[in-house]
């Protein structure tokens, strides 16, 4: 436990330290300043822009930017839906995998286009190599880039004064893909290949096990997908069991690299903000607020998982190495807990342990991460989500200092509050109403265990499974509590819709909000204005997030994980 706890701390520290130069690099890329990678990457960027016919100097206002974002996503959705629905007829299918069933394809494509990567299929049996590359891996690049682009546009809007232009969506997406994600993915992918992740076009291996039985071992173009799945807060694994699978995550070292990859860009975006808005202190404050939520969650999860499961202990099973049910021996309880929290605060959704088997409170932490969904958060969208909390905190704190509220010198008025409200309301609505409908269907069905087959252990744990699924969809996270029979029309369609709406409402509403702020005149800051980079405001923001989160989700937390914890205790 000692060394593992040190490893947990070291990963967080290392991610924090490396996020600073990464964030500054991203800021340079998106504000058109020179970087040391330019000689290699700028020609590629130019090539892509020329091939796509994008005019790099064309500026867009928030509406045009949002329309471009939506339009490109519609095209991506249709194209990739076609790929998985027709994969049997397409090349690169050495294992002879069939076409995807329509509701599952709807769910899968909605999931990948929204950067969620909730998987109701298993990669090794559900997708051909072609689909893995041109649906999964491709979307993992482009959708991560879309999130980064939206965030960068928002940051630009914050620096504008009586102006409406916030950049060009296509240029931003290209830059994010080519100049941020591509080089990072190359490095991480290479490291994973070195650690043993496969990179092959040959079909599944066939082997004779020590028991003398034949076994088919799925493999394929694994390493590049895993790299971008981690870096782009995608989370959709090559294999059904995600990063618990030895080919996706072969060793403790690969585990550390992958955990770092989860955190790197989401943490880096905060420093990008500091640079682009030219307020380094604000970035430090935001980072500190997020750390002040992230660290306690990691601590609880690590303590709970390392402390073992009292229910299993009563059966006489030694819990000295922690609660190891559903965990990989090569990672151990603390690193699994660290991953579980990191992957859910950041909307990544990859797993290196089965979250269904986490101890109740250890399993609550990933849910909290998805409920808040802005502690570092998904690439780009994490800050966009936190931005809504920032607006609410500014509104309340601004009044408390005796001024009509303002954010960085821009007045927050009813239009801004309306747009923030939309984003604020949608998240709990999707999670609570979704889970409520699932509960209703379950209770209204006779013999639901047989008729529906969703839950194998009803009661608080089953409740957690359904709650987790909708939380994951609404947070565009993509991890599953598993244990839930989720490849059914109900879950495919309901979570598919939730993922789509939960992607675009919380991006477009804040973009509109930022566009409205950009058009306003900026006011200079005086001793009487609220300083966003002060510790006092930081605490206010922290408290607003904590209290709103508590008020929205305490009842469901009590009915699921907490009730289970109290039963198990």
């Amino acid at each position: 436990m000692g060394t593992e706890a040190v490893a947990v701390g070291a990963v967080i520290l290392f991610a924090t330290a490396t996020s600073v130069p990464l964030g500054r690099y991203m800021a340079r890329v998106f504000s058109g300043r020179r970087t040391w990678l330019d000689p290699v990457l700028v020609p590629i960027e130019r090539l892509v822009l020329r091939l796509t016919g994008v005019r790099a100097d064309e500026q867009q206002n928030w509406k045009q930017y949002s329309v471009s974002l939506l339009a490109s996503n519609v095209v991506l959705w249709l194209a990739t839906f076609a790929i998985v629905s027709l994969q049997k007829m397409l090349p690169l299918d050495p294992d002879g995998i069939g076409n995807m069933e329509p509701t599952l394809a709807f769910n899968t494509i909605s999931s990948f286009v929204t950067n969620t990567n909730l998987q109701h299929y298993s990669g090794e049996t559900g997708l051909s190599y072609f689909s893995q590359m041109f649906e999964a891996t491709f979307l993992q690049f482009v959708t991560a880039a879309t999130g980064i682009a939206a965030c960068v546009a928002l940051l630009r809007a914050l620096t504008r004064d009586r102006e409406t232009h916030i950049g060009n969506f296509y240029v931003d997406v290209t830059r994010a893909s080519v100049r941020v994600l591509l080089p990072l993915a190359l490095v991480v992918g290479t490291l994973l290949m070195w650690q043993g992740s496969p990179m092959t076009f040959r079909g599944a291996a066939r082997a004779i096990t020590v028991e003398g039985r034949p076994q088919t071992i799925a493999r394929g173009v694994v390493a590049p997908l895993v790299a971008i799945k981690q870096l782009g807060t995608n989370g959709g694994g090559y294999f059904g069991s995600n990063s618990t699978h030895p080919y996706e995550n072969p060793s403790p070292l690969s585990d550390l690299v992958e955990t770092w990859s989860i955190l790197a860009i989401p943490m880096g975006m905060i420093w990008t903000l500091g640079d682009m808005v030219r307020r380094q202190r604000l970035a430090v404050m935001l980072f500190a607020v997020m750390v002040a939520m992230y660290i306690p969650m990691v601590t609880v999860a690590v303590a709970q998982e390392a402390g073992g499961n009292p229910g299993i202990a009563r059966l006489g099973v030694d819990q000295a190495s922690g609660s190891m049910e559903g965990k990989e021996v090569r990672f151990g309880a603390p690193l699994s807990a660290l991953w579980a929290v990191s992957t859910t605060v950041t909307s990544n959704g990859s797993v290196n342990a089965m979250h269904d088997s986490l101890t109740p409170l250890g399993g609550l932490m990933p849910m909290v991460g998805m409920w808040i969904n802005g502690i570092f958060g998904g690439v780009g969208v994490g800050f966009i989500n936190m931005f809504i909390f920032i607006i609410v905190a500014v509104f309340v704190a601004g009044m408390m200092i005796g001024r009509t509220p303002e954010l960085l010198g821009k007045k927050i008025e009813s239009r801004e509050i309306k747009l923030a409200s939309l984003a604020l309301l949608w998240h709990p609505l999707a999670i609570l109403v979704g889970t409520a409908i699932a509960c209703h269907v379950w209770t209204a069905t006779a013999h639901p265990g047989v008729a529906l087959g969703w839950l194998h252990n009803p009661g608080p744990h089953g409740f957690s499974e359904m709650l987790y699924e909708f939380s994951s969809a609404a947070a565009n996270n993509g991890s599953g509590f598993e244990g839930l029979g989720d490849n059914t029309a109900f879950w495919n369609i309901s979570t598919g819709l939730v993922m789509l709406l939960s992607r675009y409402i919380p991006i477009i509403a804040p973009l509109a909000l930022a566009g409205s702020l950009a058009a306003k005149p900026g006011m200079p800051e005086t001793a009487g204005s609220l300083r966003l980079d002060s510790a006092t405001y930081g605490f206010t923001l922290w408290a607003v997030v904590a209290i709103l989160g508590l008020l929205m989700f305490m009842p469901v937390a009590v009915l699921g994980p907490i009730a289970e914890y109290l039963t198990l205790r």
Binding site: V392, F395, V396, A397, M399, M400, I401, G402, R403, T404, G409, E413, S414, E416, I417, K418, S421, L424, L425, P428, L432, V433, T435, A436, I437, C439, H440, W442, T443, G459, P460, F463, P521, M523, P524, T526, A527, G528, S529, L530, R531, S534, T536, Y537, F539, T540, A543, I547, L550, L551, M552, M554, P555, V558, L559, I562, A563, L566, T567, R569
Partner: protein, 679 residues
């Protein structure tokens, strides 16, 4: 002018009686619908009452459901009461004003110099009336002839009479005030029913009240929070069903009402009305709530030097002649130039010449003297008499005048001007055509306590700019003495306007006071324009506030009231939300303890029974509204600290306090309920 703040006890019995009636009247759902939070509570009360009536017929937890319904109704009533109290206080002030509007008779002048007596209510704009000593002025207007002392205590609360005379900036009179000596002719400037007094009554009564932009934004936030809590509560039903239990509807409604921000929802309009009311207590009338909010945001304050920062009158203290001119010669010329000058400065020159050099004032009318009055353009005044042409004025204006007559000003004169100016005095240069004679040293006296007031403003983050017609040197000396942040010297009306525009273009909110007609454009341009009641009608029309005391430093109080208003709103919003934590800990275990007995450990307050827990939370939620009415009406105290310090303080009191207080309160109510066997 002495300030008189009209104070009123919060729990004035007359107002409370009216408010109790008003709170029942406001149960009308059409009125409630304007406030989404309280509307939900009212709907909840109706539903709970229906459930109670059903239980009355069919049996059930009668005592519990009945009490929940009772307290829900009282939550609505308490909210109505808060609003009615605020309105009642406004009405009480309006009634006091209305009493003064007794039906007066007016002496209207008709063609041919005749006078006819008509009721004041028949007067139209443009009518001329004559008002004698002891009579009430029948309507708002401008004095066209005569001088009179007027008792304006009905409007200002100030008992000392004020002088009203034709021409200049003291010509405006207000209907309902009384002439106590001499007579004046007044041209009526307002139509009946639209007089200043009528407008004032409408404003303090709240009849013209519209939601301000910040209030609208706050209502939106409260509405969305209400919607979120509605989701939380409604979805509990299927969740409970899944868990194998059922939650009675009154319990769900109780939780909903406890969670939605009823505390702030109930008090928002009371806070807004009380803010306007506090301004009225300080004898300031705001034309809109928006102006009050803007006052809290002011970044830059423009203050006229004269009368605001310094005592209105400068006094001549010294004659400094140039070489070749005797002091007596200078004094004589200065006195001549000032004889017809009725300004206090002019008079003080006459007096100084008289006391120092025994030069007596002379009758000028018979000598064909022509007085040249001061104008903002020439910035000189003087006298033409028998071929002599004497001018006094600012150094650069006189230099230009001398130059026009072919003369030059000597470096010596410049040195004198410089010396006087550096000492904070105003150098008034006297010249006769091409010949400069010397300088009159006028001294400004900075009012006591100004330095502290400006320091207070600086702590609030407000920059003060002194506006003066003085030259830069004089201005700098006085600015230094008074402690303002910046000054605009040699200011012409258009400079003031340009300064306001410049500040506004830099994104700042500007406040200013003014009284003269030439202030009107700037008053209109400023974000907060406070017109002095003594000022001209044009100034009063242009500004968005009127100070009845005509005290220019009142701006500071106005800014503080604006800030206080917003702070009260913010603090109670925070308090309201923070309260919910404790309510969850009271109600959630009570709801589910049957399905999950292990949840009893979440009952951290150790409330006696599930029923007592829910009731205690509902009662606390209702009673806290009443408890906070005084705070909403008075506003939370404002201290001129930096933004960070204020936020820390309010977060501590209303945020942390908001988390802790309900834990204590709910527990206490629970103990009482158990003791009196109501649960």
């Amino acid at each position: 002018m002495a300030e008189r703040v009209r104070r009123m006890s919060i729990w004035d019995p007359g107002i409370v009686r009216q408010a109790v009636l008003g709170s029942v009247r406001k149960l009308d759902p059409r009125i409630q619908a304007k406030n989404p939070v309280m509307f939900i509570v009212e709907v909840g009360s109706v539903v709970t009452t229906i459930v109670f009536l059903q239980e009355l017929a069919g049996g059930g937890r009668l005592l519990f459901t009945g009490q929940v319904a009772f307290w829900l109704w009282f939550t609505v009533l308490f909210a109505n009461f808060a609003e009615a109290m605020a309105e009642g206080r406004g009405k009480a002030q309006a009634d006091t004003l209305r009493k003064t509007r007794t039906e007066t008779r007016a002496n209207r002048m008709v063609a041919g110099g005749r006078v006819e007596e008509v009721p004041a209510s028949t007067l139209r704009q443009g009518d001329l009336v004559i008002v004698h000593s002891g009579e009430f002025i029948p309507g708002d207007g401008e004095v066209t002839e005569g001088v009179a002392s007027v008792d304006e205590s009905t409007i200002t609360g100030e008992s000392a009479p004020v002088i009203r005379e034709s021409g200049g900036d003291r010509s405006a009179v207000t209907g309902g005030t009384r002439v106590i000596s001499d007579w004046i002719k007044v041209r009526i400037t307002s139509e009946p029913g639209h007089t200043f007094l009528d407008r004032m009554i409408a404003l303090v009564e709240g009849a013209e009240r519209r939601k301000t932009p910040n209030e609208i934004a706050l209502y939106i936030l409260l509405a969305v929070l209400t919607l979120i809590f509605l989701l939380v509560v409604v979805t509990l039903e299927p969740f409970a069903h899944y868990a194998g239990t059922r939650i009675p509807i009154p319990v769900l409604i109780a939780l909903l009402v406890c969670l939605i921000p009823t505390t702030i929802g109930a008090l928002v309009s009371a806070i807004g009305i009380a803010g306007m009311d506090r301004l009225v207590q300080h004898n300031v009338l705001a034309m809109s709530g928006r102006a009050v909010e803007a006052a809290g945001d002011v970044d830059t304050l423009l203050l006229d030097k004269t009368g605001t920062i310094t005592l209105g009158n400068r006094e001549a203290v010294e004659f400094v002649p140039v070489a070749g001119v005797t002091e007596a010669e200078l004094a004589d010329a200065a006195q001549l130039a000032s004889l017809a000058d009725e300004t206090p400065e002019g008079r003080s020159i006459v007096v100084l010449a008289k006391t120092r050099h025994r030069i007596r004032g002379r009758e000028l009318a018979d000598k064909g003297a022509v007085f040249v009055p001061f104008s903002a353009q020439t910035r000189m005044s003087g006298l033409d008499m028998g071929g002599r042409e004497i001018r006094k004025g600012a150094a650069d204006a006189i230099a230009a005048y001398v130059a026009r007559h072919g003369g030059v000003t000597s470096p010596e004169l410049d040195a004198i001007v410089d010396r006087v100016a550096r000492s904070g005095g105003t150098p008034l240069v006297v010249a006769e055509r091409a010949r400069p004679l010397g300088v009159v040293h006028l001294k400004d006296i900075v009012k006591g306590g100004m330095r502290q007031r400006f320091a207070r403003l600086r702590a609030m983050g407000i920059r003060t700019i002194m506006i003066t017609g003085d030259n830069p040197l004089t201005a700098a000396a006085i600015a230094g003495e008074a402690g303002v942040d910046d000054f605009l010297a040699e200011a012409k009306p258009e400079d003031k306007m340009a300064l306001i525009r410049r500040e506004q273009n830099a994104g700042k909110l500007v406040a200013m006071t003014g009284d003269g007609t030439n202030d009107a454009p700037a008053l209109a341009q400023a974000d907060v324009g406070v017109a002095m009641n003594t000022g001209t009608t044009a100034a009063k029309e242009a500004g968005n506030m009127v100070d009845l005391d005509s005290n220019p430093t009142k701006l500071i109080e106005i800014v503080e009231i604006g800030k206080q208003l917003l702070m009260t709103r913010g603090a109670l919003t925070t308090f309201s939300l923070a309260n919910d934590v404790a309510k969850y800990f009271a109600i959630i275990p009570a709801m589910f303890v049957v399905a999950f007995p292990q949840l009893a450990v979440l009952n951290v307050m150790r409330l006696a029974t599930p029923e007592s827990a829910i009731l205690s939370a509902v009662i606390f939620n209702a009673v806290i509204i009443i408890a906070l009415i005084p705070l909403a009406l008075r506003g939370i105290p404002y201290r001129p600290l930096g933004a960070g310090a204020i936020l820390r303080r309010n977060l501590f009191i209303y945020g942390l306090g908001g988390v802790i207080v309900p834990f204590v309160g709910i527990k206490a109510i629970d103990l009482v309920l158990v003791a009196v066997r109501l649960a």
